[in-house]
């Protein structure tokens, strides 16, 4: 079954790094949070929700990883990352707002690798 193939996680990793790079550039250029950066964070959020949906579908299909509690924890935490970063970053009126978004992008990429380690059927 290839419903959780490598395409979505790979896209998330690339998108996460791209978002982090863009956000860090904004920090370096002393820019504050703006609409394009929020939109990019929203795109990452949607991609993460798609990935979570694919994994939930696989679980609903009856397959189980060895570390199910850990996987469920990751499924809950993953979509919260960009939301929390956007909230926390928007409260900042300096270059350090985008820096928070950069962390979220890097974390999203790391989470995909960790998901694969928890359940190898999730290909990266």
């Amino acid at each position: 079954m290839s419903s959780v193939n490598g395409a979505v996680p790979t896209t998330i990793i690339v998108a996460g790094f791209a978002l982090a790079g863009y956000a860090l550039l904004m920090t370096a250029l002393n820019r504050r949070m703006n609409v394009p950066l929020l939109a990019a964070t929203g795109v990452l959020e949607i991609l993460l929700l798609v990935e979570v949906g694919l994994i939930v579908a696989k679980l609903a299909g009856g397959e189980r990883p060895a570390g199910l509690p850990t996987l469920i924890g990751y499924l809950i935490a993953t979509p919260i990352v960009p939301l929390a970063a956007a909230f926390w970053g928007l409260m900042e009126r300096s270059r350090w707002g985008p820096a928070v978004i950069a962390v979220a992008g890097l974390v999203a990429a790391v989470l995909m690798v960790r998901l694969h380690q928890i359940w190898p059927v999730i290909h990266v």
């Binding site: 002393n30 935490a77 970053g89 409260m91 009126r93 300096s94 350090w96 820096a99 928070v100 962390v103």
Partner: protein, 159 residues
């Protein structure tokens, strides 16, 4: 903490502190969750490692909360917890390399935080640097306060 005026860098949670609190919060959450799962499901497997994970989680929670609050008392507690954190990552890092048998499973601080990109090693250093900046100007609003100004104000600052 959501009043508009507070979003300038006039507390330990704004400016560079915004990033610091975000990373501390991330580690507080992930270390707590990880320690909880480890202790609940397989404590006998590596008790020392899991208890150290739980201790690290507590340290991260204390740092996150005190840096967010930012009052003089909170800053003193934060200095203490960041110091314990730095000592902990150095001690546990050395211990895990010297005596791998005690650590069949990793903690956050194993190998000086190598499993987490050495962020656990760097984080308390930045935390202490950030707090030291506040200790030098007790109670005073930060030089970041200039709002729109692109300059970060304090030229002595490493930020």
């Amino acid at each position: 903490m959501s009043e508009p005026g507070a979003s300038r860098a006039d507390s330990t949670r704004t400016g560079p502190g915004r990033l610091l609190v975000a990373v501390y919060g991330l580690f507080a959450l992930s270390a707590s969750a990880r320690a909880a799962v480890q202790i609940a499901t397989k404590f006998g497997h590596a008790p020392v490692a899991y208890l150290l994970s739980a201790f690290a989680a507590v340290v991260y929670i204390v740092a996150t909360v005190t840096l967010t609050v930012g009052s003089p008392t909170a800053r003193r507690i934060a200095v203490l917890s960041c110091s314990i954190e730095l000592a902990g990552v150095l001690a546990v890092g050395t211990w895990s390399l010297a005596d791998p048998a005690t650590f069949p499973d990793a903690t956050v601080w194993s190998g000086y935080g190598s499993g987490y990109g050495f962020v656990p090693l760097v984080l308390p250093v930045f935390g202490l640097l950030w707090l030291r900046r506040w200790a030098r100007r007790p109670g005073a609003p930060s030089a970041f306060r200039s709002g729109k100004s692109p300059k970060l104000g304090d030229s002595r600052s490493p930020w």
